[in-house]
Point group: C2
Chain length 466, copies 2
Amino acid sequence: MGGSQIPPLPSREGLGEGDKKGNSYSIKLFHEVLRYCSAALLQFMKGLFGDRRTAAPSYRRTVFMQFEILKSDKNSSARLGKCHTAHGVFHTPAFMAVGTQGTVKALTPEDLREMGAEIILSNTYHLYLRPGHERIRRLGGLHRFMHWDYPLLTDSGGFQVFSLNSLVKISEEGVQFQSHLDGSRHEITPEKTVEIQEALGADIIMCLDDCTPYPASHEEAERSLEFTLNWSQRCKGSHHRGDQALFGIVQGGMYPDLRNRSVEALREMGFDGYAIGGLSVGESKEKMVEVVSQTVPLLPPDQPRYLMGVGTPFDIVQAVQQGVDMFDCVLPTRNARNGMLFTRAGRLVIKNARYADDEGPIDPGCFCYTCRNYSRAYLRHLYLAEEILAMRLNTIHNLRFYLTFMGEIRQAMAEDRLKEWVKTCYDQGASEEDNDPGQLDPWRASSPKKPAGKRNPAPVRTAPMK
Amino acid sequence: MGGSQIPPLPSREGLGEGDKKGNSYSIKLFHEVLRYCSAALLQFMKGLFGDRRTAAPSYRRTVFMQFEILKSDKNSSARLGKCHTAHGVFHTPAFMAVGTQGTVKALTPEDLREMGAEIILSNTYHLYLRPGHERIRRLGGLHRFMHWDYPLLTDSGGFQVFSLNSLVKISEEGVQFQSHLDGSRHEITPEKTVEIQEALGADIIMCLDDCTPYPASHEEAERSLEFTLNWSQRCKGSHHRGDQALFGIVQGGMYPDLRNRSVEALREMGFDGYAIGGLSVGESKEKMVEVVSQTVPLLPPDQPRYLMGVGTPFDIVQAVQQGVDMFDCVLPTRNARNGMLFTRAGRLVIKNARYADDEGPIDPGCFCYTCRNYSRAYLRHLYLAEEILAMRLNTIHNLRFYLTFMGEIRQAMAEDRLKEWVKTCYDQGASEEDNDPGQLDPWRASSPKKPAGKRNPAPVRTAPMK
């Protein structure tokens, strides 16, 4: 360890050329100087008293993120919260729209803010391959690059490596893969993902994890968990930016003992927040609920909990009641582009002939830009004509639906009527004609395409851990 | 003729269900009643005194459109004008963005208004095939359908029939073709295009014309012109809506005598404005300028003149000085989607590697939303990643460039300095590195794809007119 833990002396270049012109330059410079001084002081103290730490130098405790719990629900484990980051506040339970390649498809940041988005997510894997994290660092970081000056989370890239590549090799060292763009060979190690995510500069970054496939035997799940725990430790050890929160990811497949062990180990390492990974990968809804309900109570009560890649509004409201604070999912955005729209009454498939002369808005109760200004008939026309505007208007509606849904959950909690709200919500969600018959969750299509987390041929795992 | 000229008694249904909720319902109802009464009165008078008209019943004189010429340039034939329509005013010289399928690709009406668009164009051919003009009529007309409550022009559909279909048969009766969507057979006659355009309800509609191919012999051009003149007469005779202006289209190929004859015949019929068609179809720039400069002086001085499908900013500023008032072209929107951006200094091809780390805006002198908020590096990334947002941001920039260009022309005219402005404009337009060497017009690519007006295998013309 030693001197390598002191971050480099701040320079204009290191902060990104772009920031010279930006307003945040002086603030960032101040932070960097502060970080440098605290690291130097720590190093000096170590010299005097010796180093009793194995990882996580104490200056990481200056981390910017603060999580406040404003209220706990009396009938469930739900919490109403507020998360302060270096780029502002977001309220929990929160839904994060997915902006894979540095843009939430078809939307501008202004569109997102107008519909109430407070935090979004972007994918490390895609940005690492194109345009490259060093380029984004030079251009002043991802916030500046994509013109989003609000809270931002990046994933570790591990999940995308598994789901987008057929030739993946997982070893203790990290993950080797070929780019889906040009076939070039790459390796993402725990240290590498932290380096990339520090270059991107999101407010919350994630540890590299091995997303356990489904189904997996206990032995397979255990071996996969070993990788995750080893990698988490190394991520924590190599993370330096004090203005970023680092979240650990709980794995362990569908096995309670492994999930238990995962949480214990991660808590011992100490993270700024905890994610539940390895769900929404093809298991039944009941299984997911079971794992979440077993895992959440084990997590620290005062830190944010993030259920990755979940899900339908139905899934979300259930997980909220189990005490989850953060969610992300491609459902609202991807479905929008496929013409599947969310309404209070369930799914609406805009290409259906019944909407050809339908003058009404997608959802009479919705106040989004799309519903305020366009008829189902026009949206159907745009969709069938493959117009770009169809993507935008549909995405605006679906995302606004999700964000309004989250807002209503928070409002209900603030007014101590979450239980009643959830009941009303379930009662409403079954009347839309496009719903699949017999489907309990009105927002879930009965014949989904390839499940979101279904990975390509099982990656080769070498050198099983002890 | 007889009774068929009386429009049907207005009903809520005829006016479109949608208008019941809209503010404009009572205004439209009033117009419809007025139209009905004047038609009935005319019919009564015919009964008393006989019908001395062959076409164009006099109630068409209640047409809403008014064209004011505010100023004439002292050094050229340019005019500064203002055109009042049933949906508001647009200033001339005006550029109309093309909204083929009832949407300017990738933009909302709010985007268009923000960048200064006052009038846009939509294509009858596409809307007739999908979603169908009767459907749009039922839904309250095209303005309401597409949420654009400002001046709107529709073309006759003839040009698209020629350019999108390989099996076209032109006869005295009209144009027969197969849909590019499903191969179904259709015929557009002069009466049919008026019927469709009345259903769509644009403020300015166009006569059906036969766009003379290039090159064409004098005989071919003459025969084609005969079709156009016959059709123009029939369009005029079948047009009833008093809130729509009807424009005639001058044809005649590259032959001055035929252009002359075309103008004379159209003036005799009497239209609310005159378009110059059959240009930008593959002829040289010099030829185009020649034909425009010969044709414009023959047109009525107090009515708007519209040069169809033209062109680069260079083409436009030349035609403005020859006295043209209105333009439309797909260049700014189509080029935007192909990553070709307009700047004062010429063309900028955003995918070029030199922009990979370029922090600057597309055009430092531009104030569009895109230039205010995004770097060339980000726009290059979006374009290469095939993101939908790339289309939108590029289109916003290019269209804003065109509209600002038109605004500057008008401003220069208002301040009596058009000549100086044009000179500065030419001087600037040669410095961008992406410009084609040796190309006089900095905004024209030297190797265009298939010219805009190049038609498929020559349509079969039957029954040559006498």
